[in-house]
């Protein structure tokens, strides 16, 4: 009992630290990659290849003056950034990042590389994602500022609209894996199949659910307020949306929440469509991290390439195109799964 508790605490600490470090260095990766896409250099001065840039940014944000306007609703103003960042981290409690391991023989019995495995893991992740809306709505409202309120309401309306299509796009995966548990979903993608008799293709759901993957990817972009769906927080719109009145650490928390959300949806896409930690030869956490970074690279690539949607185009896309497509995907998958 005590050993299990200690193992779980160690796993929590490792995942939390890894997440925080990844969030910090995502800023660096993003700036370097976008610089590459735009044929320039990006951060180079602070440390070798600009690697200490996130630390410099963090220090700067910490030392900035923490302004709290006088007419804001103080309790909720201070609560909103935490409400934004907590769901992003909690979702990682059920994501499996590796197979069972004995840490090269150090442990007496094999330990599964996920913090916990509940039998409704997929629904848990969606429940936590729907709680992430509160941070934005309350931040926009408590700022006592009409631009913040409108930005917050727009952003949360976008989030709840795309939550629907995201949930539906994953039903195909659910039908094929016959389980809501994320570990079972990864295990259902094991093995190879041979296309046209000669081409070895892993049984990942991205190959059997291409439409589902595309819909999930678009919804993931919208859920994390990433370009091209980042109108509610673009600097040229609505003064800066819901985080206009925030400064210093609270603003940093919103920033971290956005990147943490990005990592969460990338990890979920990896788990559900790209086969999680499955892969030959290399140890399973390496495969998981590699696939997550592939998804993050796709996110950054799309950000630097596509122009922004207008708000009505964004909502129309979510309701009138993605939702019917997701329903179509569900119907087709259900028919095929029932027949074979």
């Amino acid at each position: 009992m005590l050993e299990a508790l200690i193992v779980m605490l160690v796993k929590i600490v490792v995942v939390f630290t890894a997440l925080l470090l990844t969030v910090a260095y995502m800023t660096w990766i993003e700036r370097k990659l976008i610089a590459d896409f735009q044929v320039r250099l990006g951060p180079t001065r602070v440390g070798p290849y600009g690697l200490l840039q996130p630390i410099a940014d963090g220090l700067k944000l910490m030392f900035k003056e923490d302004l709290i306007p006088s007419q804001v609703d103080r309790a909720i103003f201070l609560l909103a950034p935490s409400l934004s960042i907590i769901p992003a981290f909690i979702a990682f409690a059920v994501i499996p990042f590796g197979d069972t391991t004995t840490l090269f023989g150090l442990l007496s019995k094999p330990v599964p590389l996920h913090i916990t495995d509940i039998d409704v893991g997929l629904l848990f992740v969606f429940g936590v994602a729907s709680l992430g809306v509160y941070g934005i709505v309350l931040a926009g409202w408590s700022s006592n500022n009409k631009y913040s309120l409108l930005g917050g309401l727009r952003s949360s309306a976008q989030l709840i609209s795309y939550e629907l299509s995201m949930g539906l796009s994953v039903v195909g995966v659910l039908l094929l894996a016959s389980s809501l548990s994320l570990v079972e979903i990864v295990r259902a993608q094991a093995g190879l199949s041979w296309w046209f008799g000669i081409l070895p293709v892993p049984n990942w759901f991205v190959f059997s659910q291409p439409l589902g993957f595309c819909i999930y990817f678009c919804c993931a972009l919208a859920e994390t307020n990433r370009a091209p769906f980042d109108l509610p927080e673009a600097e040229t719109e609505l003064v800066a949306g819901f985080h206009t009145e925030y400064s210093s650490m609270k603003f940093a928390m919103f920033f971290m929440a956005e990147y943490a959300n990005m990592i969460t949806v990338a990890a979920l896409a990896t788990t559900m469509f790209l086969g999680g930690w499955l892969g030959p030869i290399a140890p399973s956490p390496v495969w998981f991290v590699g696939k997550v970074f592939l998804m993050l690279f796709l996110f950054i690539w799309i950000r630097s390439t596509l122009p922004r949607f207008r708000y009505d185009q964004l909502m129309s896309f979510g309701w009138k195109r993605l939702l019917p497509l997701a329903l179509l995907n569900t119907v087709i998958t259900a028919v095929v799964a029932a027949r074979g």
């Binding site: 509940i118 629904l123 429940g127 509160y134 709505v137 309350l138 409202w141 309401l153 949360s156 709840i160």
Partner: protein
Amino acid sequence: MELVLFAGLAVVAGVAALLVVVQRHAVYSALFLIITMGALAGIYILLEAHFVWVIQVIVYAGAIMVLFLFVIMLLDIRREPNPWAPPDRARILVAVVLSLVLLVELGMAVGQRLMLSPAGGPDVAGGFGTTQTVGRLLFTDFLFPFEITSIILLVAMVGAMVLAKKHQ
């Protein structure tokens, strides 16, 4: 262990519920109601309701309360003026007294079993409350109500859109 968890969650749920009805500002009431629903979701886990608790989080705490917050913010509800002013005070006192009578009655009705039931009861069968069981029941024994609920949701959506539309 289960007793400790239940005691903690029950205290959180009870206190948050009391705070819901005494706040002067509607947004604080909504936030405390979210806390109550979260605590109740925790209690549902203790009751082997493996599907219902996550549905509680997604539907109640994640969708219905967001809708409440949207309406409160869009209608710009301000702090309520003093609710203890004389015309209301008598009404409030009568309401509280009658509610306490209701609580005592319910307590008596529940407490009657106190001497009869063993604590906890026997363990439930495996698969009780899982998604598979709920799904199987919804599509076999309870198929008709399930289809009716889909029509209820459709009616609610259409009705809400018609009611809340701005008429030119």
